[in-house]
Amino acid sequence: MTRPNPTAVDGDPRPGAVAPASVPDPRRPGEAVFRRLATGSGIAILVILALVAAFLLWQGFPALLASPEVLAKQAYGAFGTWVLPYVFGTIWAAVLALAMAVPVSIGIALFISHYAPRRIAQPLGYVIDLLAAVPSVVFGLWGRQVLAGATQPLYEWLNTNLGWFPLFSGQVSTTGRTILTAAIVLAVMVLPIITSLCREVFLQAPRLHEEAALALGATRWEMIRMAVLPFARPGIIAAVMLGLGRALGETMAVAMVLSGGRTITFELLTPDNPNTIAATIAQNFPEAFGLKVNQLIAAGLVLFLVTLAVNMAARWIVARRAEYSGAN
């Protein structure tokens, strides 16, 4: 009996299948219908995305084509120099947020899937999912009223005692609404997304491999390192991508928590921080008129392109290490 070929012709995994798989079997119309439905949904998503991109281009182009003098008079100034601090701020805030959220999320997901006692594991997962249920307005309020106040003494201490370190230098903020606070809020918002998906993925790790590792005398951590994490790598990457998407595009919470301007700096503790693109659009759109609207939407297009670039980079990194693609 020949071994089944999991990556056979044209995605058709039936053993011994040969092309053409696209000829529908008249005795089984359901197969053709369902397959077309599934393919059609995929194409529909591409269409929606194309529409969004077209919208961004259509609305943003007048600002991209206008000369710097016209933009300075009727809008916010030359496009490149205007949008650069916001691109920096968006990426910097997202990087800080993910740096804080990803290790903690993976830890929590491991705790729920492998360390917590079976009976309380699901309720614990439910508790972490509570974080996902909180609306972004509430995160904004909590960030600026509770978190900023609580972290401000820490910022003062860091600035006074470790001010020589580039990240902690500068004139410290008196309200605590810095890019570090905004990154912490983003990290808390992104945490339940990454945790939820990672938890589901860790739960699907093959029991046989885990038990084999344990039977050979591995400690629990070694078992996880050998059997669970490599298996879960694509899932973890997908989860981190979802979290990154949220961090890059979060509007309301950042607009409320961050004291954002046009300063490009790595300093974490000052009130002069680079604003993010989404927050800038949200803050300026209500009062914008004419060419200003176009310039703001062009900034949205830039964010789109930034997301594209980051995703390409991540996919390239993953593709270089693609050994596992699902169970066995």
């Binding site: 008196t174 309200t175 409320m256 004291s259 009130p271 300026n284 209500p286 009062e287 914008a288 008129f289």
Partner: protein
């Protein structure tokens, strides 16, 4: 069995959802129509009136729509506080029946074709909401502050950086000012409050505040930023040795600085704010009933930092029913009762009777 279980779950869910979809306070039968200003009307008003515009008038709009809807229960007025720019865009495109803006329509905006108005109809700017802008602060050990115009501009322009600077000490004898840096907070979003505040500083101290009035804070000035009036109020409440500017009615628990104009300290009260509207001339070159004002911030005895919001309507509407709704609604807004209702709900300054007479004449001309 499974199908029965699924079906019963669906029925239960639908029942639960449909229970939510009704509000107890909206089941009253339509009452007989009375207009709020006492003028007679022959037919019961009904329909939906949509408006969009400045966020500054949102609280007043709540009071206005509530009173108008109570008097005309067949009418629903929806006001969307998405911002002056969004309001003007929507009004020009004919998407809403009226707009509110913190800055009157510019000449270019006036020259556009208004899709919702009758052909050849222009738009009218009617001042209907006045609110003083207070300079709010939170400084250790300081309960009251007086600033003259040069000091005020100097602080916000970043030239005066410490609280015990001689310029501030000079106008505040008897107050111990701490030796600490001044934290300045300004609006991150474009806003009419910023436009009016920068206009005030530019008019009173142009050699210190050299930037023209603009809805957006000058880009070369850094400092703490906050989104919305509530954001600025929050930042000042939670900060230390910090100063900012916001709608006076939103910041009642914080210290308001007195502005020294000439030698008189002026507090941001409603009366001092309303005075500016009477002393300011109407912009020339517009329609007969257009009441866009050129605010005279240097007039004697007026508190200069004031925000005036304009209601923007068509001279005549393409849809007569819409015109009737707008006329009735703005008739109420421009009445004594309307202004008092707004003052009670939002803390604005009621218009004087002289201005109200002009507004009434303008509203009567709407068709």
């Amino acid at each position: 069995m499974r199908i029965i279980r699924i079906a019963s779950a669906l029925v239960a869910a639908t029942a639960a959802v449909s229970l939510v979809g009704c509000a107890s306070n909206e089941t009253a039968a339509p009452a007989a129509t009375q207009t709020a200003t006492g003028a007679t009307s022959t037919a019961a008003l009904s329909g939906t009136l949509a408006g969009k515009g400045a966020t500054s008038v949102k609280a007043a709009q709540e009071a206005w729509t509530a009173a108008f809807q109570t008097a005309n229960s067949g009418v629903t007025v929806n006001y969307s506080p998405e911002g002056s720019g969004a309001g003007i865009s929507a009004f020009t495109a004919g998407a809403v029946g009226f707009a509110f803006s913190d800055v009157a329509l510019s000449d270019e905006q006036e020259a556009a074709t208004f899709t919702g108005c009758a052909p050849d109809s222009k738009a009218l700017n009617l001042p209907l909401y006045i609110s003083p802008i207070a300079v709010i602060f939170k400084v250790e050990g300081v309960d009251s502050l007086s600033l003259d115009e040069a000091t005020l501009a100097g602080i916000f322009a970043g030239r005066i950086t410490n609280w015990n600077d001689p310029a501030i000490v000079a106008t505040n004898s008897g107050v111990t000012l701490p030796d600490s840096p001044i934290a300045v907070v300004h609006r991150a979003d474009e806003s009419g409050t910023t436009a009016n505040f920068t206009d005030t500083m530019h008019t009173l101290a142009p050699e210190v505040w050299t930037w023209e009035s603009d809805k957006v804070w000058p880009a070369d000035l850094s400092g703490e930023t906050a989104t919305g009036t509530s954001g600025v109020v929050d930042a000042v409440t939670n900060g230390k040795n910090i100063i900012g500017y916001a709608d006076a009615s939103a910041a009642k628990d914080l210290g308001h600085a007195d502005l020294l104009v000439g030698d008189k300290p002026l507090a941001p009260t409603a009366d001092a704010a309303a005075a500016i509207v009477d002393k300011s001339p109407v912009v020339t070159g517009r329609g007969e009933h257009d009441l866009a004002l050129a605010l005279d911030r240097k007039a004697a005895g007026v508190y200069p930092a004031v925000l005036v919001s304009y209601g923007i309507v068509c001279e005549s509407y393409a849809d007569a029913a819409q015109g009737a709704l707008v006329k009735a609604y703005f008739g109420y807004l421009g009445s004594d009762k309307g202004q008092q209702d707004a003052a009670a709900a939002a803390g604005s300054a009621p218009l004087s009777s002289a201005m109200l007479a002009k507004v009434k004449a303008a509203v009567d001309s709407i068709t």
